[in-house]
Amino acid sequence: MNDKINVSDEMLNAFVDGQLVTEEKEQLYVSLAKDDDMKKTVCELRSCKDLVQMAYQQLPESSGGSSDGGVPGGNGARHWISGIAASVLLAVGVFVGWQLGPMQTNEVIHSASGMRGATNALAVADDDSTKVLFHLNTRNPEVAREALDELEGVLKFYKRTGQKARIELITNGGGIDLLRRETSPYPDRILALQKKYKNLTFVTCQNTIDRLKSEQGVTAHLLPGTVVIDSGVAQIMRRQQEGWAYIQV
C-alpha cells in the first residue's frame, strides 16, 4: 500500500463517467490495482450512478408523450418492475460486494470442471496478478465497442509492461447481445481477442439467458469460448471479494 497515488474524487468521477483519455485511464487502472480504498470508492460512485439511472427508468406518464416515446405507461408495469428489481439488485449488490469480506471463495473451482476453454481464467484469483472485471449491461453496439477497446487497451498495457493480469468481461441484461451469435456486432474481434490473449475471459449470465427465453422466446446461441455463469450479479460480488477491480462500461 506504499504505492498509493493521490487521485482526486473529481478524477475518479470522470473515470466512472468515461471522461478520461486513454493515458489517464491506463494510469488509473494501475492505481486501482494497488489501492483497495480507491477501488471501493470507484465502486460506490458507480453504484450511485446505477441507482440514479434506475430511479428514473419509469416515470409518471407524460400527457404529451408519444405512445412509443420511451416514457412507459402503466401497461408495462410488470415488465418495468422486474427491470427495476434487476437494476436495484445489481447496483446494491455491487456495493454490498465490498462489504462481504473474504468468504465463499471455493464454489467456482468446485463446479468449474465442466467449463470449456476458460478454466484457468475463471479459477479463483489467489495469485499476484492484476485482475480487472469489466461489466457490460447494455446492447448498445457503441458501448460494446468501447468495452472491447478498453479491455484490449488494458491487455496491451499489461502485455507491454510484462505484468501478469487477468481480464474478465461479464455481460448481463442487454449486454449479452455482444456474446450471442445472432446479435453480436463484433464476433470476429471477440474471437481474435480470445486467441491473442489467454488471460481474457468472456462471461455471460444464465439468468439473462433464461429471461430471454421466457420473455421473448429467444434461445441464446453464444460465441465459442463464452463462459456461462448462474448470476452476473453474484459473479461481480464474488470477483470483488477476491480483489478484482470492477469497471462498468
Binding site: E10, A55, G65, G70, I84, V92, G93, M115
Partner: protein, 184 residues
C-alpha cells in the same frame, strides 16, 4: 427541389424534436419531481426549439441545444415563481410508486428523495451526466457553467448520495444471500 428540401428538413426536425420528448421529460422530471410541471417544461422547450430551429447551426449539437433550452425554461419557471415555490422545497410527487408496492419501488422512492434533496445545481449536473450520458463539456455548455464547476458539483452530488443511500442499503437484510451456485 428547394421547396421539397425545405419541407423535408422541416418534417425531419419536427420528428427529431418529437423523439427527444421522452428524454427531455425524464430529465425535467428528475429536476422537479413533479409530473405536471415536467410536462409543461417539455412542451415549452419543444415549442421554443421548434421556433428557433433555424438557429441551430450544428445538427450534431442538437441534443445539447435542446437541453440548454430546457434548462432555461426551468430557470425561468422558478424565477417567475420564486415567491411562491422554493425549488428546495418542492414536494416529491410520484403517482406510480406507492410505498407499499414492492421493496424495489421503495428504493426508487428513496433514490428520488435523495436526488431531490441535492442543491439545484448538483441535481442538474448529475442527471444530465447519469441519465442522458452527456459529456462534462456538453453539460458545461448546456448549463453555461465552467467545466470545473460541473466536476465539483457532480463530485459533491455523488458524495451526498453515497452518504444517504449506500450506507442505508448496506444495512438491509437479505443482500448477502446471492451466491454462485453453478458454473457451466
Amino acid at each position: 427541389m428547394e421547396i421539397f428540401d425545405i419541407f423535408r428538413r422541416s418534417r425531419e426536425s419536427r420528428n427529431q424534436l418529437e423523439e427527444s420528448r421522452a428524454r427531455l421529460y425524464r430529465v425535467a422530471f428528475s429536476w422537479c419531481h413533479n409530473a405536471a410541471l415536467a410536462d409543461d417544461l417539455v412542451q415549452e422547450t419543444l415549442i421554443k426549439a421548434y421556433r428557433k430551429s433555424d438557429q441551430l447551426r450544428d445538427p450534431k449539437a442538437g441534443q445539447a441545444w435542446l437541453f440548454s433550452i430546457l434548462s432555461n425554461c426551468y430557470n425561468d419557471h422558478f424565477r417567475r415563481n420564486r415567491e411562491t415555490e422554493d425549488i428546495d422545497n418542492v414536494t416529491l410527487v410520484d403517482d406510480t410508486t406507492p410505498e407499499t408496492e414492492t421493496d424495489q419501488l421503495q428504493i426508487v422512492d428513496k433514490v428520488r428523495r435523495a436526488v431531490a434533496t441535492l442543491s439545484e445545481g448538483q441535481r442538474q449536473v448529475m442527471t444530465l451526466v447519469d441519465l442522458e450520458g452527456f459529456s462534462y463539456n456538453e453539460v458545461s455548455d448546456i448549463l453555461s457553467i465552467p467545466i470545473g464547476t460541473v466536476m465539483s458539483r457532480l463530485c459533491r452530488a455523488r458524495n451526498a448520495l453515497k452518504e444517504r443511500l449506500l450506507t442505508e442499503f448496506e444495512k438491509q437484510p437479505g443482500l448477502q444471500e446471492a451466491i454462485l451456485r453453478r458454473v457451466k
